[in-house]
Amino acid sequence: MSDPLLAVTNNKATVEGFTVTHGVDLSVDEGEAVALVGRNGAGKTSTFRGIMGLTPLAEGSVKFKGEELTELRPELIPVRGIGYQPEGRDLFTGMTVEENLRLPIWTSGKARGVEDEDAMVESILDLFDELSHRRDTEVQNLSGGQGKMCAIGRAMALDPDLLILDEPLEGLAPIVVEELKGYIQEIIDRGISVLIAESNTSHVPDIVEEMYVIERGSIVDNGDPKELTKDPDIQELMQGGGN
């Protein structure tokens, strides 16, 4: 079997001296869609930030295409081919949708081999067609769903091999959740690997192939998403009865 695209091994992320993940292991294969589910505060965001180099790791390794990422400066990680949509949306306010999509290309487009800036922006706006007629809108004026689309689109501007989405469906109306899932499915269909965090197990089983369950900074289970969501222990855990 070939090496996974992303292999996280024994990750112990620390925030202000406190260990917030206690040895997370997970992997994403090329072209695979993987979910990391857990309640708020379970360690999903810390795991992702550890991968992106934004939260220091006390221990552990993050290998992407065989390269150790923990030795890299954080700004070099996106250039290796990882697009990251932070929790919330963290867009660049005061700037338009289009500027937000172009900024990654300006900073790292050359290093990523994105030759045609306009074509890349158009391809993202084609995907998120709802965003295309709001291209000149300043991002703080977008709706919740459009904001998430813009944040995912920004992460896609560097033509990533792996897209890390931190709760892209959080806080959205059910109809918008369905719409966004459609977009994410389309991204997966394009062959981009996706690692997606969710606090609601019912959102993801139909779009991912593998699911990890995280609780108190440790992976407690992983496997087939449809099986796992039926597991009474997992259901109880996700509903907050695990204590």
Binding site: R73, P86, D90, G94, L103
Partner: protein, 324 residues
Amino acid sequence: MIELPLFIDLGDAAVHTLNGIFRGSILFMIASGLTIIFGVLGVLNLAHGEFYGIGAFLLTSIATFFVVRIAAPTDPLSTAIFAAAIVIAVLLSAAILIPIAGAIEATVIRPIYDRAEMYQLLLTYALLLILVDTIRIIWGSQPVRPAAVDGQQIHAALDVIPMEELFGFQYSSVRIFTIFIGIGTFLFLLWFFDRTKTGRIIRATAIDREAATAIGVSSDRVFTLVFALGGFFAGFSGALYSVSAIPATAEMGGTALVLSFVVIVIGGLGSIRGSFVGAILVGVVWSWAIAEYPPAEIAAPFALMILVLLVRPEGLYGAWGEIE
């Protein structure tokens, strides 16, 4: 007993106001850097005024170097050559501050970004004192002017445009030129942050440093660039001030810093438009105070600041932390 003038001559009023706009232009070039550095790096650089002071002293040395080597302006050609030499001297003075400010950021400021503000204030204050002493060591404690040209100051040699015929009163053409430079700097900064890729990358870093890192921005490089840019404009401003007949003193950086605080608080921290409007307001109020009631020279701008804070606590253009 202080006598307040009963009426102010219109010519005087225009001169006070122009002096105010001149001082405002100088202040803007200092305060805009201070506000941008604060907006992007989150550090209030107390040593920022010293970049202005160093720029002024550098100009005295570099201009003197030129003045003693080239012909005094007597006809249009020699005046043009002389003016060009002074412009080069100003630009050189400012350019020298790019590596100075950049190196200070990379070595001293960078390690303390994540520290509490008290550390940052103490450290930049220490830097201020060290730079003041450095100025004293290099240029001495006495006020310094560039060498005279045929017995007159540089600005006098350059003040050849007949302002009296143009405007009905006498005013320094060097100062008018400086005012235009101030306005030009303002327009340049607006354009730079609104239109250029680099400017927008800097803004993105100011808005969300981590999101910027996640799209490949090296915040270290951005911070050094911003600090160097701020140093350049402060030095530029000091050099221009020095050309305009005002001797450079070791204390000038401190005064400039204090007034820059007033400017950016009035304008709204992080706002370039705010710094410009604030600088012109402070400059005009300051100049009128100097001319009409000198004891209130420092109190007047601060009174204006209190007034603005009472009416609009976020400043005229409240944009805390974000460049606009």
